[in-house]
């Protein structure tokens, strides 16, 4: 069974690229445009991995991950955070919220695939 990945980013084009790359590698992809949207899409769906941007309208990535981690079903779902801010404080906060890995934008789709497969195999 192919694994399902939720991608949360406010940029349509970024989501599309990640979607193309991940679907091409055989994953199921669900897209959400911000934290609030992502939470509503989680709602019971089996998700193996979450990829989330930090800087988003409505609900930012950190807040979203915090809330998602409170739902029993997603407590152990690994999270990759995407950001262009390679800042210690943001990573610190993301870590507290429960993110497993960080990916600094811009990244190549191949890098994303590598990180995803690494995380899903642990």
């Amino acid at each position: 069974m192919s694994k399902t990945i939720l991608i949360v980013d406010d940029s349509d084009s970024l989501r599309q690229v990640v979607n193309i790359a991940l679907s091409g590698a055989g994953y199921n992809v669900i897209e959400a445009c911000d934290g609030r949207d992502a939470l509503s899409k989680l709602n019971g769906t089996k998700v193996h991995l979450i990829v989330s941007d930090v800087n988003m309208p409505n609900m930012n990535g950190i807040e979203f991950v915090k809330q998602a981690k409170q739902l029993p079903q997603y407590k152990f779902t690994p999270v990759i955070m995407l950001t262009t801010e390679n800042q210690q404080s943001m990573m610190e906060e993301g870590k507290k919220a429960g993110a497993k890995a960080w990916m600094v934008k811009p990244f190549k789709p191949a890098q994303m695939l590598q990180a995803v497969s690494k995380l899903l195999s642990i």
Partner: protein, 706 residues
């Protein structure tokens, strides 16, 4: 790996344009006075826009876009941390960056390498923006260097790593030893001390819990990021501090402060004997200070701007392809026609229940028509907002001070109009600033405020939307307009014109009163194109002007182009439709005109108002006459003009699906389209504004003869 990203790239293009528009709106807003909170929010919005573009552009490998957006993002980041000041020059630099980013994005999407002049512009901008932060960086470095200088000691030449996995690490499926094993492969001279800290009593021992913590000392020429990467996936489950060689005492002290159980951390450090004893002693004695300091506060202050962002961007919208919408409206149009036909057939049967059911269905169809037409309606505010930038730029270029005020931004109109009306508006706005509003000195001499005001206003008025562009400048100069019109051969010196007509001369082709041709307006093209464009949308233009006080140009457009509420009447067995909103009232002709005058009179006295009227039979060249007592007079209004239309009989309200006429009929005056009736016959839709004008001109030419 190659991926087909073409669809994503086109998304990127439209997304970038939207974001750049947001950025521009934000920047213009920043120019005005804002309170601290609001200002921070706007800067954040601008930052996020450019940040998103940079992120996406990087993925597509659009390097030119990335390099420019990077510097913009960096300076904006410094700005939101109040490290640099936002002045007019910086805003201008941002605005030009916005334009350049747009160009670069467009080029990148087309896979065209930017030309040299663009590249030079980019480099200049990058250089000037870098100036802002380079100054900043130097100061920053000085600040950072000072404490570091004090603490560095040569003796701590090794890496230190504190690794304290939490109690649940094993339960969560992570093995701390795997990470240490990985570390041992990556670094040299690794020495690890293991501590069992929290195990106190054997009966509370849980075999699934972790009780170990580690302190590692090693040599490595890797960067601290690379070392941190090794522990990337266990970050959430452990406290990790990496202290590079030659770190200051402060760094070590701070790193230790992150541990909940700092006593054990210190003993780890002591056991390893890799630090000078005076360090250990200082740490031990400094511990009391450590307990009071709260290290969570810096990250808290950092989260502040993040939560502010959530307040912008609330309205929920759905993006739909315009083509799909057009198809829907087409289909609704067909449904309206078929509905009318079915209704007709139902009436023929005389079946009461069927007729009742039909009328219910018709009402539903009407509702569907209205709501699907509303889908095409967009607020004009977005179009108006673009002018903030235009007004600012033009005013700056001409050395004038102009304030733009926007009214009725929430007024809705058809999306097709929005696209087509924005060019004409641009011309009018440019003209208003260039010719209308005086320079600050002249304004002061005339006792006006140095800053001119340009008002863009939109409102609904009897079935049409009116867009008004009003300035408080010098107004139109009638003598100069007349002189110029005579000079250009548009009118003859003998002609006497009403004020309204003089004003309309500015829309004649080849007309220009500006003494000097500037590169903003006054090339003599433009205003006539404006008029033509608007008339092609079945709209009209009116000008009002008061010498010395300003002028105002009103564009009047129908609400929609596709389906309208029509009013049907017949002339010589053919059916005609006019928009219902233009009908004021209907009268029996013989009741308002005396029998003896009925043939040659062209106006009536309607409640003391002189009202010209036109006989559609004679307009259409039908010589056959009918009994006057059967003729009706339909009074129509368009804008401020009124006239009467004499028709054979009235048919009443009719839902009209506007079908454009073929090219053959393009040149015909007074006809704007056609529609299909329930019976399958075709009815002609008349252009009311043209009809009124021809009625007025017939009346006036007769007046002059008499």
């Amino acid at each position: 790996m190659t991926l087909d990203l073409s669809s994503a790239i086109s998304t990127f293009l439209s997304e970038s344009k939207e974001l750049l528009q947001e950025m521009e709106d934000g920047l213009i807003e920043l120019e005005s006075e804002l309170d601290e909170y609001h200002r921070g929010e706007v800067i954040n919005a601008v930052f996020r826009a450019i940040h998103t573009i940079k992120g996406s552009a990087g993925i597509f490998g659009f390097d030119h876009v990335v390099s420019l957006t990077h510097i913009v993002e960096t300076t904006l980041d410094a700005l939101r941390l109040n490290q640099i000041l936002l002045d007019k020059d910086l805003i201008s630099a941002y605005l030009s960056s916005r334009d350049l980013v747009e160009t670069l994005v467009e080029l990148a999407v087309e896979e065209i390498e930017p030309d040299d002049s663009t590249k030079i512009q980019v480099n200049e901008l990058i250089a000037s923006l870098s100036n802002y932060i380079n100054n900043e960086n130097e100061e920053d470095r000085i600040l950072k260097d000072q404490p570091a200088d004090i603490g560095t000691v040569e003796s701590n030449s090794k890496w230190h790593l504190f690794f304290v996995p939490n109690e649940n690490v094993l339960r969560n499926g992570l093995d701390p030893f795997a990470f240490l094993y990985f570390l041992s492969n990556e670094v040299e001279n690794l020495h690890i001390d293991t501590f069992v800290t929290s195990l106190e009593q054997t009966h509370t021992f849980d075999p699934e819990s972790n009780y170990f913590s580690f302190h590692a000392v090693f040599d490595s020429d890797k960067s601290s990021e690379e070392i941190a990467e090794i522990f990337e996936f266990i970050q959430t489950e452990a406290n990790i501090s990496i202290i590079p060689p030659n770190s200051s005492y402060q760094d070590i002290f701070n790193a230790l402060g992150q541990f909940p159980d700092s006593a054990s951390a210190v003993s780890m450090l002591e056991n390893s004997q890799s630090l000078p004893t005076n360090y250990i002693d200082s740490i031990k004695s400094g511990r009391s200070e450590l307990e009071t300091s709260d290290d969570s506060s810096p990250s808290d202050t950092n989260s502040q701007p993040k939560s502010n962002q959530q307040k912008i961007h609330q309205s929920k919208t759905l993006r739909v392809e315009a083509l799909k919408l057009d198809r829907l409206i087409d289909q609704v149009g067909e449904m309206v026609i078929t509905g009318a036909r079915t209704n007709l057939l139902a009436h023929e049967t005389g079946n009461e229940t069927l007729i009742e059911a039909m009328s219910l269905l018709e009402r539903l169809v009407e509702n569907i028509r209205d709501s699907s037409l509303k889908l095409r309606m967009v607020q004009i505010g977005e179009t108006f907002n673009k002018f903030k930038r235009v007004v600012r730029d033009i005013a700056q270029e001409l050395g004038k001070e102009v304030e733009l005020s926007i009214e009725g931004a929430e007024t809705e109109l058809d999306k097709t109009f929005v696209e087509k009306v924005s060019d004409p508006l641009m011309h009018i706005v440019r003209n208003a600033i260039d010719h209308g509003i005086e320079s600050p000195d002249v304004r002061k001499q005339n006792g006006k405020d140095a800053t001119g005001t340009l008002t863009l206003r939109a409102y609904h008025d009897s079935g049409s939307i009116v867009i008004e562009i009003k300035d408080d400048g010098q107004g139109l100069n009638k003598e100069r307009i007349l002189d110029r019109a005579i000079e250009r051969g548009i009118i003859t010196p003998e002609q006497t014109l009403a004020d309204k007509e003089i004003n309309l001369l500015i829309f004649e082709p080849g007309f220009s009163t500006a003494e000097a041709v500037t590169n903003i307006s006054g090339r003599g093209v433009g205003m006539d194109v404006v008029k033509r464009n608007i008339e092609s949308l079945r709209g009209s233009v009116e000008v009002e002007s008061k010498q010395g006080l300003g002028s105002s140009i009103s564009i009047r457009l129908p609400l929609t182009l596709s389906i309208i509420d029509g009013f049907m009447f017949s002339v010589h067995d053919a059916n005609y439709v006019i928009p219902l909103d233009t009908v004021v009232e209907c009268l029996e002709l013989h009741e308002v005109v005396p029998e003896e005058d009925i043939q040659d009179k062209n106006y009536i006295n309607l409640r003391t108002e002189v009202l010209p009227f036109i006989r559609l039979r004679s307009l259409f060249g039908i010589s056959e006459k009918i009994d006057h007592s059967r003729e009706s007079l339909v009074i129509v209004q368009f804008g401020t003009l009124r006239a009467g239309l004499v028709v054979d009989s009235l048919k009443g309200e009719f839902q009209t699906v506007v079908k454009p006429l073929g090219r053959l009929f393009e040149g015909l005056k007074c006809i704007s389209g056609a529609t299909i009736l329930g019976s399958g016959n075709v009815a002609i839709i008349l252009d009311v504004s043209a009809l009124i004008k021809s009625a007025i001109s017939v009346y006036e030419s007769l007046e002059i003869k008499q």
